[in-house]
Amino acid sequence: MAVLDILDLSVSYTTPRGDLKALRGVSLSVPQRRIVGIVGESGCGKSTLISAIIRLMAPNAQIRSGSIRLKGAEILELSEAQMRALRGAEISMVFQDPMQTHNPVLTVGRQMIDIQYRDKLSKTEKRKRAAGMLALVGIPDPEARLNQYPFEFSGGMRQRIAIAMALMAKPALLIADEPTTALDATLEVQIIKRLRELQEEVGCSILFISHHLGVIAELCDEVVVMYAGEVVESGSVRDVFHNPAHPYTRALLDCDPGHIKVRTRNLPTIPGNIPDLVHLPQGCIFAGRCDKRHDACAARPDMATVNPSHHAACHLIAVRETA
């Protein structure tokens, strides 16, 4: 059974211009002990999706349809109190900016002890667990460092502390929202390696959000590509990156400058802009920017099967099957 199952989720924001349909019919699942990556550019709905999973949505956001199941139980029907019991215990999260995730006026030790409030352990035992967790994420001399304040740690270390805290309660699902974006490249590599090791050790599943294709390729087992509020492609990292079926995925991979081995002064781009999500265009959401656009694109494509674990929402796949 999958740890997280999202089915046909649609979320809208009420705005003065009308309903902004930020997510439309999004389905994805995170299997046990797997790392699933979500890629997509600004405005693709990544953040709305996360806020729906942890049910911390903006006041003007509304879930129009769909379901979110955590270990089979529907999250969208839980009361606020039940939801609070879930956050931090079953689902936990690592945020983008490590400089702002900690309380600046409390020691790291105090914060790490405080978040164990659910456990019936003595303070000494909790402190010991906190030190153990810091050691696990690779912070040297953890006992002494528990007495320090967040400002005494560098950005890379603060992000590791955030990961340690998120994994403290051994959650079933860890959501990591661009956890390495604010870090330098060499530290990014360290964090990613550490996340992989921790995932194996704690045995949780990870939903990893990033716009960095290289990081997704390195860390994740499966990947979901989102565009303008829809899932356009999903599958194993190998299938999707080696054999992208959706033109958007292909364009995105082509744009990655790390991908281009021959020096060029004319880098590939994706011309055009994301469509207006208040007044949605008819048909395929990517058609306006797609170089493979044809008559069929006037109708919205269904998710087509490339192989049993690789799907993409593009009319061209159906054509390929029948041909």
Binding site: E41, S42, A185, C255, D256, G258, L267
Partner: protein
């Protein structure tokens, strides 16, 4: 081709206030950097946070005072140039700042923003409407944008406005601090293409400050890698990418994972975190994180070795012929 900018042994020192446990002292954010930019070429400065790359750029633009060394722009010494003199030069040396939206005043329309340089430099008798239109067209924005305000445009568009403003007075040297940070990959390409095109059209020299090596590869002619305020490697971009010598350059190249799960990565992994610039390590400053460090590295400062089109500062540079026998 002639040399536009020649930087020699530039040092930028900041005083630090003493805390309870530390005494007052000084740090060298830029510690003896030398490099040269030819007219019409692009030079990339790469390094991680705190490596001093932005400080170096700001010293060239006259926004920080260089403590020692020399910054020659077309033969004219910029260090110790009085502010009034420097202001005239800002027609020729312009800077694009890192935060695209934050560097635009929220109360000014795009037209006012991109024609502000004319007012600041006291250039009269120009039709500002026509200039705004010309500049917007140059960076690929529609003329209607002149009437908009910064909050009405996207991050990518704000960068274009930043380029338009920087190029308003037809400068010779553009200093671009992280021109693509925070942009989506598709827009990042647009921005770099724009800079390359404008360089070809206007004969501009560009100094690009970035932490992203793959950005540098396509757009620069030469690249310098900075660590703790010093250049550790510098050379022709192609040479540095094909045969990196310094272990830090190797690590940066390896730290740029490819979008291919089967990519065979030459993993050069660094230990720990960058040391504080307040406590510079002895010897080679990189030895605390270097996977190849030897006892000599902690004791002796490596010299700046020039070989062909590249130079580096390392006791044990990657020797490409025998790299097989090397163990991390």
């Amino acid at each position: 081709m002639s040399t536009l900018l020649q930087i020699r042994d530039v040092r930028v020192r900041f005083r630090v206030r003493g805390g309870i446990f530390s005494s007052a002292g000084s740090i060298d954010a830029v510690s003896g950097v030398s490099l040269k930019i030819e007219e019409g070429t692009t030079c990339g400065i790469v390094g991680e946070s705190g490596s001093g790359k932005t400080t170096l750029a700001r010293a060239v633009a006259g926004l920080h005072h260089a403590t020692s060394g020399s910054i020659l722009y077309r033969g004219q010494e910029l260090r110790d140039l009085p502010e009034a003199e420097f202001r005239k030069l800002r027609r020729e040396i312009v800077m694009m700042f890192q935060d695209p939206i934050g560097s635009l005043s929220p109360r000014l329309s795009i037209k006012s923003l991109i024609t502000e340089p004319f007012r600041i430099q006291g250039i009269k008798g120009r039709d500002l409407d026509a200039e705004a239109k010309r500049l917007l067209a140059m960076v690929g924005l529609p003329p209607e944008f002149a009437a908009r305000y910064p909050y009405q445009i996207s991050g990518g568009q704000a960068r274009r406005v930043g380029v338009a403003r920087a190029l308003a007075l037809d400068p010779k040297l553009l200093i671009a601090d992280e021109p693509t940070a925070g942009l989506d990959v598709s827009i990042q390409g647009e921005m770099l293409n724009l800079l390359a095109r404008l360089q070809d059209e206007l004969g501009l020299a560009i100094m690009i400050i970035t932490h992203n090596l793959s950005v540098v590869r396509h757009i620069t002619d030469r690249v310098g890698i900075m660590y703790l305020g010093k250049l550790v490697e510098e050379g022709e971009t192609e040479t540095v990418f094909a045969r990196p010598q310094h272990p830090y350059t190797l690590a940066l190249l390896a730290a740029n994972p490819e979008a291919d799960p089967d990519a065979q990565l030459m993993r050069v992994e660094l230990k720990g975190e960058p040391p504080s610039i307040l406590r510079r390590p002895d010897g080679c400053e990189f030895h605390t994180r270097c996977p190849f460090a030897q006892p000599k590295c902690a004791a002796e400062v490596p010299a700046w070795e020039v070989s062909g089109e590249a130079a580096h500062r390392c006791h044990f540079p990657a020797s490409w012929a025998q790299s097989e026998g090397r163990t991390a």
